[in-house]
């Protein structure tokens, strides 16, 4: 293929990946659920933070996808297949309003490619089993953390409030803290996720700033177009007010940060959903409908991403 065609193709793929990751971004779910911000305000803020995060933090190009997980030599077509199939599954699950783990989807695709090319020996199963321990543990950690934090907030603050005004004041304070934490999370997440998408076009001779801004815009377009469904469905898992949203969001963000720092592959989406369930248990509030849909999409993530990778590999390999 001509060089210019390859550049255009890679830019389109990068845009597609950015859009897909943005579409499955549930960062603002608790802000929406607790009515700290209305959907329109939230989308404007998410857009600004996505572009800013992409521009200021998106320069770190991520490592080669699937480097340690595959026992086969990694070609450009393999990398693109993994990224495209992951993105397609992200978009499909986003259109269903289900937040999924991008890592799970990527690993599903890697498994599909690995088995397709190298048979069962093509995948580093030992590493996958090791990682799966954390995948199973992520929701448990999220559940326990939000349960404990909510109980502490309840005992230390809520049970001591006196009068409606006191409740309003406290919830207002928590809404500001929550918003601050969410903004930081959204900013850093945009930087991190956009670097994954932009990574495939960096080095093709295009201005990096331009790439990052375009990726940031596509990431935010993903949030606006499909991400709102995910935000709504996660935000409505249980009734939220700023204090309870804080109890589910902040421990999740902190544990995720520590996990990333220690190199533990925790899933933010799984932790957040589980933390909302833990919260509903702590508050003795019902879990609303729609949770099963999310769980089913989670279960389908590995096989579907693998299947998509298998279906897409040969066409992509043919074009490249």
């Amino acid at each position: 293929m001509a060089a210019i065609s390859i550049i255009i193709l890679f830019i389109i793929i990068s845009i597609f990946i950015s859009f897909a990751i943005g579409a499955n971004d549930e960062t603002f779910a608790t802000v929406h659920g607790s009515k700290t911000l209305m959907m329109r305000e939230l989308l404007i803020l998410a857009t600004i933070l996505a572009i800013a995060g992409a521009f200021f933090l998106g320069r770190a190009v991520s490592e080669t996808v699937g480097k340690d997980l595959l026992n086969i030599s990694i070609s450009n077509s393999i990398v693109l297949t993994i990224l495209i199939s992951t993105s397609i599954w992200l978009i499909l699950s986003s259109s269903l309003g289900a937040p999924i783990s991008t890592t799970h989807s990527t690993i599903g695709s890697i498994m599909g490619i690995g088995i397709l090319i190298g048979g069962f020996g093509g995948v580093n199963w030992l590493l996958i089993i090791e990682m799966s321990f954390w995948w199973l543990l992520s929701p448990v950690i999220g559940y326990i953390a939000s349960y404990v934090v909510y109980k502490l907030i309840h005992k230390g603050i809520i049970s001591r409030l006196n009068g409606f005004k006191d409740f309003e004041r406290t919830e207002k304070i928590f809404s500001y803290i929550l918003l601050g934490v969410i903004c930081l999370t959204a900013f850093s997440r945009a930087g991190n996720d956009v670097s994954n998408a932009a990574g495939i076009v960096v080095g093709l001779g295009i201005n990096v700033d331009l790439i990052l801004i375009i990726s940031g815009l596509c990431f935010s377009a993903g949030i606006v177009v499909l991400g709102r469904r995910v935000i709504k469905s996660v935000g409505n898992i249980t009734e939220l007010v700023p204090t309870s949203a804080f109890a589910s969001e902040v421990p999740t963000a902190v544990i995720l940060f520590v996990g990333t720092f220690l190199g533990i592959p925790l899933s933010g989406s799984h932790m957040l959903v589980a933390s909302l369930i833990g919260l509903s248990k702590a508050r003795r509030a019902p879990v609303k409908k729609g949770l099963w849909k999310i769980v089913i999409v989670w279960i389908l993530t590995f096989p579907m991403a693998a299947l998509l990778a298998v279906l897409l590999f040969f066409p992509i390999d043919f074009f490249l």
């Binding site: 809520i158 049970s159 409030l161 009068g163 409606f164 309003e168 207002k172 009734e239 007010v241």
Partner: protein
């Protein structure tokens, strides 16, 4: 935006409470005139007008209450329930004014003392209720004390009610007068009982909120 609407909700609530209190006090004054047989029935329109004004204020209150999309959902729900309960109490006050307007008899002299006592208790209870409503915003403990006061006064009023009815039912004169007078007593007591129901609801909220 939020603090502005919160402020106006407070102002509207105060305006409503003040109108309610005015209407209730006016009815109590007119009841005294009625007992002294110098009631000008057209004055009862003051109470009816107060109820109308309160109705308009209530509409405004509900509009502002639901306008604030960021308000805590449980608080909106509870405030709405409170205003509708209080409005029902005012409706009962207005009903007495209208009833008195068409009541064609003088009150039996032998029950006027206890009836006045019951009317005074009703007026005091409305004042305490309004105090407790204002305290709900800032101090649950004090609001709780007020609800206990309401409960005690209602108990006394119940005794007075049955005492009054005991006397009225023994009357052997015009049965319509007996019937309508007993209705008048019951209507005043209905306000008292309703205020206690509101107090019970407030007490439920006071217990519920810290467990939220």
């Amino acid at each position: 935006m939020k603090s502005k609407s919160e402020k106006s909700i407070d102002e509207i609530a105060k305006e409503y409470n003040s109108e309610f209190l005015k209407g209730a006090k006016r009815l109590n004054e007119l009841m005294k005139d009625f007992l002294e047989n110098k009631l000008d029935k057209s004055d009862l329109d003051d109470v009816i007008d107060a109820e109308r004004r309160c109705d308009r204020i209530k509409e405004k209150y509900i509009q502002v209450l639901f306008q604030d999309k960021r308000a805590l959902p449980f608080l909106v729900e509870d405030r709405y329930k409170i205003i509708t309960l209080v409005d029902e109490a005012l409706g009962k006050v207005e009903f007495i004014a209208r009833f008195l307007k068409i009541y064609p008899f003088d009150l039996y002299e032998d029950i006027s003392g206890d009836f006045k006592k019951m009317c005074d208790t009703c007026s005091v209870l409305i004042e305490i209720l309004i105090d407790s409503l204002e305290l709900m915003e800032i101090n649950f403990d004090k609001a709780y004390e007020k609800t206990v006061e309401i409960e005690n006064l209602r108990r006394e009023a119940r005794k007075v009610r049955y005492k009054l009815l005991g006397v009225i039912y023994k009357k052997t004169d015009d049965p319509i007068r007996v019937l309508l007078t007993s209705k008048l007593v019951n209507n005043v007591y209905n306000i008292i009982a309703w205020i206690e129901d509101i107090a019970d609801y407030l007490r439920g909220l006071i217990i519920k909120y810290p467990t939220r």
